[in-house]
C-alpha cells in the first residue's frame, strides 16, 4: 500500500512538474518562431536566447524528476 503510494507520488511528481514548463517552453518557442519569421537576419541571436531560456524552464521539470528519483529511492 505504502509502496504503491510512493510510486504514485513519483509519477505525479514528474507528470505535474511537466505541465508548467511544457506550456512555457511551447510559448517561448512559438514566439521565437514568430520573431524569426518577422526578422530572419536576427535568427542566430534569437536562437541562442531561446535555448538559454528553454534551459532555465527545463530546470523546473528536472527538479520534479529529482524528487521522483528520491521517492523511488525510498522503496
Amino acid at each position: 500500500m505504502v509502496e504503491g503510494m510512493i510510486a504514485l507520488g513519483a509519477a505525479l511528481a514528474v507528470a505535474i512538474a511537466t505541465i508548467g514548463p511544457g506550456l512555457g517552453q511551447g510559448n517561448a518557442a512559438g514566439k521565437a518562431m514568430e520573431s524569426i519569421a518577422r526578422q530572419p537576419e536576427a535568427a542566430g541571436e534569437i536562437r541562442t536566447a531561446l535555448i538559454l531560456s528553454l534551459a532555465f524552464m527545463e530546470a523546473l521539470t528536472i527538479y520534479g524528476l529529482l524528487i521522483a528519483f528520491l521517492l523511488l529511492g525510498k522503496f
Binding site: G44, I51, L52, A55, A59, I62, L65, L66, F69, G73
Partner: protein, 244 residues
Amino acid sequence: MFFATPVFAAEAAAEHGAEHGGGALFSIFGLEVSSVVTTMWGLMIVLFLLSYFATRKIEKIPESRLQNAMEFVLEALLSQLSGIMGGEKMAKKYFPLLGSFFILILASNYSGLLPGAGHLPGLQPPTSTLSVTAGFAIIVFLCTHYFGIKKKGIGYFKHFVQPLPFLLPLNIIEEFVRPLSLSLRLYGNIFGEEMVVASLFALIPLFLPLPMMLLGILFGLIQAFVFTMLAALYIGTAAAEHHH
C-alpha cells in the same frame, strides 16, 4: 543524498538485463574504478590524441582536414560565447575552461551511442551519472566565484545585496541552486535518454531504439551547448566590467 544515484543506475540497469551499471570493475589503491571512470579515461585518450594530431604541425592556412575541422568547431563556439559574455576578449580569456567543458561533455554524451554502451563492462557514458555532472557543476561554481573575486576584489560580494539588501538570502539560495540545476539537467537528460534506449532495446532489440538514438545525437549536442552557455553566462556576469 545526491551521490547515491549510482544505486539507481545499477538497479535500473539490472532490471534491463545490463549487468554493469554503476558497480566497480576493479580498484586501485582502495579507490573503486567503475565503467564510468574507464570510459572517461578512454575519452581523455581520444581527445588528447585528436588535439595532438590536429596541432602537431599547425599551419596558417590549414591544409589538413583535421585542423580545419577543429578550427571550425572552435570558431563557432567562440563566436557564440562572445555573444553571451559580451566581447571576444572576454570570451577568449575564459575559452580554455569553457571550450574544454563543451568538447568533453559532447564526447561524453556521444559515447552513449557507441555499440554496447551501458551493456559492456567498462563502457558507460560518464555524464549519465550524477557524480560526474555534479563534479562539472562544482568546478563551474568555484570558478565563477574565483574569477569574480579575482576581477573585482572584495567588491564582488556587493552583488549579493545588489537590488535590495533584504534579498540577500534569496541571492545566496540562487547561487547554490545554479550548480544543482546545472548538474541535474545534464544528468537527467543523458540518463533518461540512456534508460529509454535500454527499455526500447529490451522490447525489440532491432531497429526500435534507432529513433531515440537519433534524438540522442540532437540532445547530446544541445545539452553540451546549454551547459557551456550557462557556465559562460555565470562566469561572464560574475567577472563583468562595472558599467554603473
